[in-house]
Each structure stands twice: as C-alpha cells, then as structure tokens.
C-alpha cells in the first residue's frame, strides 16, 4: 500500500523543478518588472472598506451622541453684557412749578436756565443714576414753569398750563396736607397726562409764615410752602426729584435694596405666625380673618403690579426663643440686645413651615409675632445706642420679620384652673400690624418712617391708606423689573456655563425653547421699560425670570448621562480597535503593493519601448 500511495508523489520534485528552472530563467525580469498591468481589484476592495468606515464613523458618532438642544450662548452672553453696560432706565418727566418766584428779575434766568440748574443739581445728588431701574440714566427730562404772579414763563415743550390755575386757592385757605394733596392731584392731574410725570410745586410765601413745610404726597407730586430763596427752591426741587422720587428716599445703595423678595413665579406668600412661647402662662389668639379683610387686602391690591400676594396665618405654641434675655432695672423689663438677634429665631421649635399651597417657586415671607412667657414678660429689644426699640422688632432680609409683643399685664393668673385664653384686642392688633407693615415695606426696600431728612431740609412723606404711595410703587416696580432681569441674566449665565462645562448632559428641546422665550421676554421687558410702560415691563421681566428658572430647574436637567466617553470607548474598542487596524493595514499594504507592482510594470514598459 505504501508503495502504491507513495509512488505518485515521487514525480513531484521533478515537476517542481520545471517551474523553478523557468523561474530562474526569468528571475531578473520578475523581481524588477512585470509584463501585465497590476490588478486593482483588491486595492479597490480594501479602499472601499476603509472609506465606508470613514463615512460610517460620523453616523456612529451621531447615533451615540446625546441630544442637546442648541442654546443661544452668544445671545445669552450679549444679553448679560448689555444689561451690565447699559442698565435699564425708565423715562421720567419731571416738572417743577415755581409760584411766586421771579427768576428773571432777580437773577436774570429764564425757565430753560432754571431747568438746566435743576438737572445739574440732580446729577450731583444722584451720582449712581446709572443704576438699573433709575430714571433717565443721567439725562433728565425737566420742565419748569415759573409763575411770578405778574408774568408766567415756561420751558418749551412743557405740558403745564401757564399760569397755574389753583394758585389762589392755595394761598387763600389753610388746608391739611391730605386735602392739599388731593387738590394738587386735581389741578395737576390734567397736566400729568397719563405718563409717569413727577411734579414739585414751590409756593413762595411771606417771610412771617415761619418754617418751610415740604411735603411729598401720596401721588406723584410734592410741594414746598414757605419763604424760600430762589437757590433753595431749586436745590429742594432737585433733591425731591433725585432722592425721593427716584430712589424712594433711601440713602446710599445698601445691599438689600438690590433684592426683591418676590418669587420666580411672581408670587409672595405672607405667612403670619403668632408664637405663644409658653401656653401654660397664657394663650393668645388673634382674629386674623378680620385683619386680613380690612388691613391686608388694600395692601395686596396696591402691590398687585409687583407681585401676586397671598396671606396665610397660623398660631403656634411652645415656641421659646433660643437666645437669652436679662432683667434690666432701669428699663424695668427683660432685655435682649441686637447682638442676640442671630440667635433669636429658634429653628428647632418654630416650625414655620414653608407653605404647601404656595408650591412652585413662590417666595415665602415669614412675619412672626412673638409673645414671651410670663418669666420674661416685658421683653424689650435694646438698640446698640442703649435705647429701647420702639417697634420691638427686627427684620431679616429675604426671610421676614419678627415682632415681640408683650401682653398688657405680665402677671399670670395663678388661681384659675383653666389656661388663660386671651385674644389680642383689635387696637393692639392694629398697632402690631402697623409694625408688620413697616417691616414689609423694609423688606421690599422702602423706608418705614414718614420723614426724609435730606441735605436741604426735612421732608414729610405722606402715607397712603393702602400702605404704599404711587411714587413708591413706581420705585418698587422699577426695582422689581431690574431684579428680575438681573436674576434672569445670572441664571442664564449659570445655565450656559453649566451646559458648556458638562458635554454629556442631555438638554431636551423644552429647555432650549424656554431659554429662547426667556430671552425674548427679557427683550420685551427692556423695550417696554424704555417706552415707559411699567406694568407690561414688570410682567415680561417676571416671565423672563420664571421661564429661565423653569429651564434651570427642569427635572430633566439633572439627567446627566452616565454613559461617559470612557464608557463608550470601553464598549466599542473591542470591535473598532482590531477592525480598524485590519482595515487600515490592508489598505496601506494594498496601496504599497499596487505602487510597487505598477513601478515594475512601468519599468517593463520602458524596457519594451527601448527594445522595440
């Protein structure tokens, strides 16, 4: 068997020899040249595979890409930089009416010169007029009417009628401030013409009239009565314009005036709490329902353009304060000083819950009435200068306010078996709420007292029964728009930074839309503000802020994909690493080989040509 099977194998070496011998004959040819054109089948194949890989790669990249709605980063950038460089300003018209003055006679000044003097003085008094929400931005629209009795002059383009009609009435009878205010409103009302025009009327009285009386009314005008020189008249007018009407009578630029405690949804929840520190001694209750109806509703109505306010109340028991007080013989009461205030709020025992009903991003302002226990009964707040506080309360910006209310008699009824249940009398409650409303005004960044002392004298600020006068509301709404736009810009900035810093974060379309709409609303707010439409501007700015907050706090924004790039690499590398290596190597080799073979062919061709 072996022999048979092996036999045919034997001729093989013999056969092999023939090609070898042939090869040996043509070896010099074979190594350096070839007679046929090199085939490109394999080259095309491997290049096709390579190219299909290269083409397919973007598709794969796309498929594993995380969806990110495009956010207008450059617009956000430009919006915030614009808000910084060019703060929001409302157009305001100022009108000064001088009755009984004769500038032209004494100084040789016309109404235009007086207007220029007032403007100059105003910019001196209001150096930070470029602050957001202010009037005009350093460029004031001041018109002047000078009624000297015999002649009447006015600046060009002023709307006031010359001479002033109600002048005689003023001099005629002694009116109370309120009546005077109403009367001025009546006779300046038609002058006003609907927009936000502020006016100051200076009546030059006789010398014997005594002290000068300067009053700022409930509406948008003020008046100065008494014997004043021309210079004083100008400086007083400028001060009322610059300090009171434009800044709300606030000195300096404290931090808290920058913030408005209004929620992103434009709502404020006023949460009133009555805290009985020790119900064993006495239990106080209040008829809050009545207070709500009679006292709070007008305030809520007045603040409607700025915020949508809701009111809640509760009575809590066993809520001691967490700071200590000491007995003071001089004042005859227990004293807690301003140093103790940070520790007064007892967050363990005072469960002044945030409101469930408010929901969303409403701002809750806590207004707390604290009734001390019998042990520390007359409890008084000592000011740093050693006096007792008249209001016996304090505020904490953006949180709320606390008032300590001491019962009339601090003697506990030891005999009675039942607990001492009392109700705060309406008179006391009313006083308490005056203080609380003052605190609310302070929380909103207004003055809580009725006197403004400026450089050129004191001004009486007339209060409104609604708690907020018209010019105060103007200041507030300006501030509100500013605060909204600023917070919108900062939130947008943080959002864009966040989005740019996290490349694997999913951004759904809704967020992109909200950002877009928010920017649009902010633009609207700015344009409304420049045309002086306060309410529409407030609404748009609020919308801008709430939209961007919605975007920022969107539930999906936290869904950062945990499918990180490393992860992706780890999953695809077992496939792509070997395959790409194969493909690239194959393509390279084929290309090399083709070039080499082609050279051989060309060499042969050249040889052929030479031969032929």
């Amino acid at each position: 068997m072996e022999e048979i099977s092996n036999f045919p194998l034997n001729p093989e070496p013999a056969e092999e020899e023939t090609p070898q011998s042939q090869m040996q004959e043509s070896t010099p040819d074979r190594k350096s040249m070839r007679t046929t054109k090199p085939g490109i089948k394999r080259l095309i194949l491997s290049l096709t595979v390579l190219f299909s890989f290269i083409i397919g790669f973007p598709f794969l990249w796309k498929s594993i890409e995380i969806y990110r709605a495009p956010l207008p980063f450059d617009r956000i950038e430009s919006f915030s930089s614009q808000l910084e460089s060019d703060p929001l300003h409302f157009p305001c018209r100022f009108q000064a009416i001088f009755v009984g003055f004769d500038f032209s006679a004494s100084r040789g000044l016309g109404p235009n010169d007086v207007a220029a003097a007032i403007t100059h003085k105003m910019s001196q008094l209001n150096p930070n007029s470029l602050r957001c929400g202010n009037c005009g931005g350093g460029d004031y629209d001041v018109s002047v009417v000078i009624d000297s009795g015999s002649s009447c002059a006015q600046t060009e383009g002023s709307e006031a009628r010359c001479p002033l009609k109600c002048g005689e009435v003023v001099f005629g009878g002694k009116l109370s401030d309120e009546d005077f205010d109403e009367m001025l409103k009546r006779c300046l009302g038609n002058v006003d013409g609907g927009g936000k025009g502020y006016s100051v009327v200076v009546f030059n009285g006789d010398k014997e009239e005594g002290e000068v009386r300067a009053v700022v009314g409930k509406y948008r005008h003020a008046w100065v009565l008494g014997h004043v020189s021309e210079d004083e008249a100008v400086s007083r007018t400028a001060e009322i314009f610059a300090r009171v009407f434009m800044n709300g009578g606030n000195e300096g630029n404290s931090i808290r005036s920058e913030f408005m405690p209004v929620g992103a949804d434009g709502r404020i929840v006023l949460s009133f709490s009555l805290l009985n520190a020790e119900p064993q001694d006495w239990i106080y209750d209040w008829s809050f329902h009545e207070i709500d109806k009679t006292l709070l509703q007008p305030v809520i109505q007045a603040l409607q353009p700025i915020a949508n306010i809701t009111v809640e109340s509760q009575v809590l028991y066993y809520t001691p304060k967490s700071s200590f007080s000491y007995w003071d013989d001089i004042h005859g009461s227990h004293i807690f000083s301003t140093k103790d205030l940070p520790f007064f709020l007892n967050s363990n025992e005072w469960h002044l819950d945030t409101s469930v009903a408010a929901g969303g991003r409403s701002k809750v302002l806590q207004l707390v009435v604290y009734i001390p226990s019998a042990k520390e009964c007359p409890l008084q707040l000592e000011l740093p200068n050693g006096d007792l506080s008249k209001t016996n309360g304090f505020i904490s910006p953006m949180w709320g306010g606390v008032v300590v209310w001491n019962p009339e008699s601090c003697v506990k009824d030891l005999e009675s078996k039942d607990p001492d249940r009392r109700v705060i009398s309406p008179q006391n409650l009313q006083k308490l709420f005056e203080v609380l409303m003052g605190q609310l005004r302070q929380l909103l960044g207004l003055k809580s007292d009725n006197l403004y002392v400026g450089q050129s004298g004191a001004y009486i600020l007339l209060g409104s029964e609604r708690g907020f006068t018209e010019w105060e509301l103007d200041v507030l709404s300006g501030k509100h728009v500013c605060f909204n736009l600023h917070s919108c810009a900062t939130t947008l900035g943080s959002l864009s930074r966040l989005v740019q810093s996290l490349p694997r974060m999913i951004i759904i379309d809704e967020i992109g839309k909200q950002v877009k709409f928010s920017l649009e609303a902010a633009k609207f707010a700015q344009s409304y503000a420049s045309t002086g439409i306060y309410n529409a501007s407030a609404v748009s700015s609020r919308q801008a802020r709430s939209l961007v907050e919605n975007a920022f706090f969107h539930p999906s924004i936290m869904s950062i994909s945990y499918y990180s790039f490393e992860h992706c690499f780890a999953i695809y590398s077992p496939f792509f690493l070997p395959v790409t290596m194969h493909v690239i190597l194959a393509a390279l080799r084929e290309w090399k080989r083709y070039k080499q073979e082609n050279r051989k062919y060309l060499a042969w061709k050249a040889k052929e040509r030479i031969v032929s």
Partner: protein, 665 residues
Amino acid sequence: MALLSRKGTLFLLFLFSIFLLSASASNGSGEEEEEFWEELLLKPLPDRKVLSHFHFQNEAPLSDSFARHHHLFPKSIAQLVKKFHIKAMELSFTQGRWNYERWGGFDPISSHNAKPPGVELWAVFDVPPHQVDASWKDLTHALSGLFCASINFLESSTTYSAPKWTFQSALGSLRYGTLPREAVCTENLTPWLKLLPCRDKAGLSALMDRPSIYKSFYHSQRLHLTQAKTGADPKNSRVVLEQTLTVVLQPNILTGGTNYVSEAKMQPSWSLSSIFGRKINGRCVLAKSSNVYLQVERGLVTQLENLQSSTATFAANGTNLDDFGRNVGFELSVNPDRVLKEVEKSSSILYEYPIKVHKDSEQFDLGITWKHPVIWSTPHVPLYASRFLMGSGNERGAIAICMKSTESTQELVAANYVDQRCNFQVNVLQIVPWYIKVYYHTLQLFVDEKPQILTDFVERMHVSPSEDKVSPGLMELVLKLPCEVKSAVLNIEFDKGFLHIDEYPPDANQGFDIPSAIISFPDFNAGLQFSDNSLSKTPMLSKLQERSPVISYTEVLLVPLTTPDFSMPYNVITITCTVFALYFGSLLNALRRRVGEEERRLNDKGGKKDALLNRVLGKLSSKFRGRSSVSSQPSSSSSSSLISPKLILRVLLVAGIAVAWQYYS
C-alpha cells in the same frame, strides 16, 4: 439682620374706623372653632404585654379661611386637603406585625390600628375621575416631603391600585398603595408630632419617650383625615384629623410585695413611669379634653368574675369590678373618675382618668398591680388568616391564603340559627406586583379541606389583571362562607416575571415583597357598646363605639426572583464586539489574499529552507527508527511530509510555553 428703627411718630398707614366696626360685629357671629382632643388608652394584653394607644383629634370647619388661617389645626395638612381635594385619607407607618392570635382582632383598636408593616396609604379625592391619578401622584410627593419618608415611590402606577369594596365606597376616586419595606423611625414621628398643637412638649404626647416607643413589639403611627358633615349644607362640614400611635410594649416587671404566687404566672405589674420612663405632667392646655383610659377586656372580666365568685370572702361582700381597686385580680394605683361598662353580659370595662392642668406638685402615674395570676384570651377575628407561598425555584409558585375559624365563628354558630343555614361574608383584597404573573383561572377554593366550585361561595369578584410595567394585579373577592366553616383556603398560581435590568431595586437578591392581603368581615361589628351614651363622648370613645367592620391584614410575602448578573450587558457587548471583530478581520484578510502568489513566494523562499530542514529531520528520524526503516528508504521521506516538521515545531513551542507558564506562575 436689620433693625427696624423708628425715630419719628408711627407711620399711620391705614384707616381704622371700618376695621373696628367690623371686628366688633363679627366677634358675635359664632364662627365654629377649631378643636383638639387628646386621649390615651391602656390595655393589658394576655401575653404579659401592654397596649398603649394614643389618640389625638383635631377638627376644623371647612370654611372660606380653611387652609389659610388656622389656630390649632396644622396648616400644612389643611393646605394638602385644599390643594389636592382630599375627601378622606389614611397614612400609616408601622413597624412589627400585629399578633392577631394574642393581641386580639375583634375589637376597634385592632381593626383600625393593626396595619401592615411599612407604609400604607389610601386616599379618596374629590376630583373628576381622569384627574385622580395626577392628584395621587402629587399627594405622594407632598406627603413624602412632609413625613421624611419615601412615599413618593407610590407615585409609579405599578405600586398603587384602586380597590372597590374593601374600603369606604368611593366610586373610583380611591387609590391604595403600600410600601412594605419602608423603615419607620423617629424621623417619621417628629413631623407627625409637629402636627399636634402641643407637639411633645406637654400633655399625653410628652410620654412618647423615643427609646421606649421604638423598642416596642409593635409600633404603628397613623394619620387619618375625614370630612364629617354636620348638616345638610356642605359648607358646614368639618375636616377631622385623627392621629393615633399604637404601641405594644413589654413592661419592666415591678418588684411588688406579694410574692406568694410564682412570678412566672403572674401578669407583670406596671405603671406609666415603668413602661415609658415618664409620668404625665399635665394636660396639653389647648386640648378640649385630655383623658387616660384603662381597658379591661371581656375575657379578663369574665375570668375575674369567676375568680371572684370562687373566693368566698369577696363573694360575701358582693363586690363587682365596678368597685375599682377592690377586686381580687388587680389593684389600681389611682381611682378612676368614671367607669364605663359595656351593655352586653360579658363586657369590657373602661376606667376613665381625666388629666388636669399642669401642677408641679402632682404628676399622674397610673399603675396596675396584679394580685392573682389570671389567664385569659382576647376576642379573635372570625377567621384567622395567614398567607404563605408554595412551590420552589425561580420560575413559578403559588400563593395560598388560609383562613381558620376561631371561637368567635363558633359562637356565631351557637348564637345564631341552629338549624337554619347561616352564612357570613368575607372580603378578600389581594394586590400583587406585575412581576408576579398571577393566573386567575387557577384560583381554587378549599372549604374544610375539600375543593369546592368557586361560584358556590364567591358572591362577587373583581379582577384587574396586571399589565407589565404599568399596573399591579388586583383581585377582590366577596366570599359567602357558612358559619360552621372550619377552614377555607384560597390558592392561586403565578409565574415569576423578568424585570428589566434598571428596574431592580438595590439589593435585589433580598427578594420582592408582596403587600399584605386585606381580609375584612363586614357582617361582624367590632364596635363596643357602652351603657351611658348620654354622657359627653370624647372622640376616642365614639371611635370605639363606631360600627365598623372587622379588618385584618395578612403577612407580607417575600418572593425571591431571578436576579441577573448586573455586569452582564457589558460582558455581552464586549464579547459580541470581539467576535465581530474577529470575523470581520478574517473576512477581510480572506478577500485580499492572493493564493497563487503566496504559494509561489513560499516556494521561492522555503524551497531552500525546507530542503535543508527536511534533510535534517530525515536524518534525525532515520536515526530514531534505526535499521528497521532503512530497508524502506523511500517511505521515510513520505512520513516526514505527513508529520510535517512545522507541526512538530509548533507543538514543541506550545508545550514549551505551557511548561514555562506552569513553572513561573
């Protein structure tokens, strides 16, 4: 902080005359007040434990200012009611399991306060049907924030369902969900206490010493909201918030003087200070009434009466248990103000102790000292229900609900119709998560251990099958069982489903919980009937007297499901990728292979080499084979080509590597 300083006169902001007028007018209008009660019920249990049941009730009129202005009622709850339009709601946090055999199941306390472990929540909404689910979801989130618990897990539609008959009929606007694995601790109790006007600063709640409460055998904290209508006018209705805490405690044994009976048989004597470590310092001043009750059960009363009649001296005096502190069985440290007795013959007794206003000198400390060993049993549920799993493995199983008759059903037989056929109704509610795929057609009923046709006993049935990843399965049965029934077993088979990899909870290997089944007996009335109805009723007394069906819960079942290797998807992806890469690479290589050319080149190069190797190998092999092969010289070359030298070399190489590996590793 900024000071509110005032230098000038007060800023007159408002006009006051209107206000003064209206305030004086409205004071007399008689607006309904918010009210608050607090009560504590103590009850010695047969197994030497003590049940203490705190009951706080808060009521507020549903007026315009509801949810806005409150004096006693918790604002947060009122706002919940208003915001989500809640008609009724019950939330319970429970730890431990109520022992129906020993602690009783036929009394108001157990049927209201014995709850399944973990969190149970049901709510009835006053909204159109399509909004109910949305309201439920919002409510779960709000509650979970309020009570620091993961109630928000009930938001998913796979966790809640809408039973029809077990709870108050609410016609589709009721939702029910449980979280059996929720751990209950102080962080849940503190927000619950915050809803009380006195919190735990004063009154009965001051007894709640956290270590003693949480080392108890059973602990259930409950919040129940209802709207009670006082008149025909819907405006007159009141919102009632009932907060109860039920604790079963083991009292520390007080070393009493009487040692003549073996201590082991004696009930332990206890007092409030010994079980809670605190005494009652005084009532919560805001409560309308503040009472402590001591309940002596029917069984105990009967036993004591027997004991009394057998003891001659007491029998001569003719005293009964109404003369408190004089009976043979026990002695009370404080004399009660009032004794309430049930109207029936063998009846339980309630001793009432009103708590007075705080006085430093006197503290209230109720104690009971046992004088005689007494053994009694508590009234049992009509059918004692237990539930268990059958089958093994990770594929399929069966749930069995077994109901055994107790003495109360036998009493029923005895009391009622002797020759007439008597039936009683049993409602069974069973909710199963979707991954337990129940085959409802396999439902079997065994009555007295004999298989029965279902329709003979089932009066009504409501099944809503589970939908994968959408809703749980729900089965409600209304059974009519004969009074003389000994046992009834419901048996249903299921397949265990597979969950998606991200649906497994953390620690999936622990198993999955099937929430408790609820067995209720609407024909039985758990309420107690006290004789003097004329006296003013406190909320707890009226709760005890309320006609309510007997309800019991079964155990929670733990079903082990197949849990995957959680790294599996990555392994699968990687290995698939590798296989693809191998395939692709070799395919590509095969495509661009030039077979002819390679051979030629191989021959080019290898011709010489192979010849040399062949010669060497040939010589080697010929030497090995020796002479035998010399004769057949031609075959040697053939064999060498068969066992190619390359192959041998490779084998040697692999063997070498293997040896090296073995040696060095």
